[in-house]
């Protein structure tokens, strides 16, 4: 009897508590990563931004992430699990997550799905975001053009897709703008992450007289190879100066933190999904890594000036004439390339010494 009274009392308390208005629990924000977080690289930058956003929204959100998710059916399962477990916003941060994200977004109209680097979206709860990495590449190219002695710049690249081609072309145009003799040599390693192969590609370029390197792959192998051979390099994705304190001249760094904070703020405030965005230096989604002391002062000033112009929108790395390596004018003088043309770029510009990979 006494026991059942106790039970009743506790039940009443529980129910009462349940009915009482509660402080709103933190909303869950989910992140799906394509690779392990690691210390430097594509996913590392997204994860840094996730933490930044969580800090900025202290108390209002908790974030969760799943790393190393293969693109394809597995990612669909992970995204669905986030949705089922009540996430309010789900960020999927690799191109190959696009279709699974779209599919799950249809099933959960009350959750907002944001996909990085894709081109699909809908009107209500599925959007995309990306950054204009080429802006940083161009500035890196300017520094490279000034610093090279051999006039051979090496570029270790993953896969010949427009995003990578765009970076190679921007880097080349930057270098050519200050050093008409500079040429860029590209080695495709056909892998986003294979430090062994990336290192070999870097050393191959060095043995063929390249004295400034950059890469569009995901490890620190290239900057480390440059450090070991005492030449220069630019980092990509992250600032890799701690891996190559002497070699790294600068780099192109992704900054997603501000974007994530604003996007989550907007969504949680009930103002709907953020507009699709392709942001660059102006939006703070891209910056160049601090220039090392090896870069002469006048070059630093020049690059900073160019960066300001890019931010102000008065300079675009692909303002015509853009001539491809076969001498064909792709963008006439006085015209600036359209975003559509950038995103379907399938040629090398003048100055890339390597032949364009597919016939």
């Amino acid at each position: 009897m006494k026991n059942s009274l106790k039970l009743l009392a506790s039940l009443a308390v529980t129910l009462g508590l349940g009915l009482m208005p509660q402080a709103r629990a933190a909303d869950t924000i989910g992140f799906v990563y394509v690779s392990p977080v690691g210390d430097a690289g594509w996913t590392a930058q997204h994860d840094m931004a996730r933490k930044e956003m969580e800090k900025a929204m202290a108390g209002k959100v908790t974030t969760k992430f799943v790393e190393n998710v293969p693109e394809g059916p597995d990612s669909e399962r992970v995204i669905r699990e986030f949705a089922q477990n009540g996430a309010k916003v789900i960020f999927t941060t690799s191109f190959g997550f696009m279709n699974p994200t779209e599919k799950i977004a249809k099933l959960y109209p009350n959750i907002v799905f944001m996909h990085a680097t894709g081109y699909k979206s809908n009107d209500s709860n599925f959007g995309n975001y990306n950054a204009r990495f080429y802006e940083g590449r161009y500035l890196n190219g300017v520094i490279a053009g000034k610093m090279t002695k051999s006039n051979i710049l090496g570029y270790v690249a993953a896969f010949p897709i427009p995003e990578v081609i765009m970076g190679i072309n921007a880097f080349t145009r930057g270098a050519k703008s200050v050093n008409p003799k500079a040429e860029v040599r590209v080695i495709w390693v056909n892998s986003w992450f294979d430090p062994g192969k990336e290192k070999q590609a870097a050393e191959t370029l060095i043995s063929q007289n390249a004295d400034v390197l950059t890469h569009h792959t995901d490890s620190t192998a290239v900057v480390q190879a440059a450090e070991a051979k005492k030449i220069y390099a630019f980092s990509y994705h992250s600032d890799m100066s701690k891996y190559a304190p002497h070699a790294q001249l600068s780099g192109t760094v992704h900054e997603w933190g501000k974007y994530y904070t604003n996007a989550v703020n907007q969504i949680l405030a009930g103002r709907g999904k953020p507009a699709n965005v392709w942001g660059g230096m102006k939006e703070g989604m891209i910056r160049i890594a601090p220039m090392s002391s090896a870069v002469p002062k006048d070059v630093q000033t020049m690059v900073t000036g160019l960066a300001d112009k890019i931010k102000a929108g008065t300079f675009h790395p692909f303002t015509g004439p853009v001539v491809d390596q076969d001498g064909k004018t792709r963008i006439p003088a006085g015209t600036t390339i359209s975003d559509g043309d950038l995103n379907s770029m399938n040629y090398y510009v003048e100055g890339v010494a390597s032949k364009y990979p597919s016939n």
Partner: protein, 308 residues
Amino acid sequence: MTPLLTAILIATIISGTPLVIAALGELVVEKSGVLNLGIEGMMAVGALAGFAVTYHTGQAGLGILAAMLAGMALSLVFAVLALTLMANQVACGLALSIAGLGLAGFLGKPYEALSLPQIHPLPIPILADIPIVGTIFFHHQILVYVSWALFAAVMVFLYKTRAGLLVRAIGESPHSAHAIGSNVIAIRYAATLFGGAMAGLAGAFMSIFFTPLWDERMISGRGWIAAALVVFATWRPARVLIGAYLFGGVMILQLFIQGSGWQISIPSQFLSAMPYLATILVLVVISQNRRTIRLHSPMSLGVSYRPD
């Protein structure tokens, strides 16, 4: 031209070294009739152990030792499952690869942000001074020389010693070997552990000498290539060596072609596939004789042995 050629050959040797070490280890395992497909996982665990110990102690030697022990520990798991409990060897090996990669990734999290100081090559006195040849062959990391010593040791062991003969006999017919009084399970255990140690060593070469960093994806399929090499080389050490260097060489060559700026248009995907294609092609062509293949392939490879 000479400096370029020298550079290509040096890079070829470096590129082939992890394959040589891991594949020679697997060769001995398979010669004893055990098929351990877990090389990728053992290399990953070895790479991590080697990196971590070298990082903490500053001694690459201790790192190498730790890597070999780590590879052996993982292969011991395989041995217990596949040899003592007689589980399917192919399934156990595949599971070992997955588990090893996962384990290394999990345990290796704290080491992702770190890098090791570059270790300078160890030129061999006198030999290193020979023009060209010295530069190509005798200006390497210590594990490169170890891989050559390993090749010699495996050759001598398998074909010139009684113990080697016994290993081969067990790979052919464990029952006959048992009948003449040898302990089949114990010898298979020993071979499996040796394979594990070599995979660990190959991993250590990757993480301590080759790219002095740790990341769970750094082995990038080299363990699978080593496993395939043993089969395509029809279980002959010299062909394993040829295969490994051929693979490394074509890999380097295609990078040089790409980096040369020559105006040739070959899809880079094809260039990347070239090492695989060339290695398979050459090894298949030189191993056409069915009789010699039968002679060298262990008859009871992958078959569990149940002592009567």
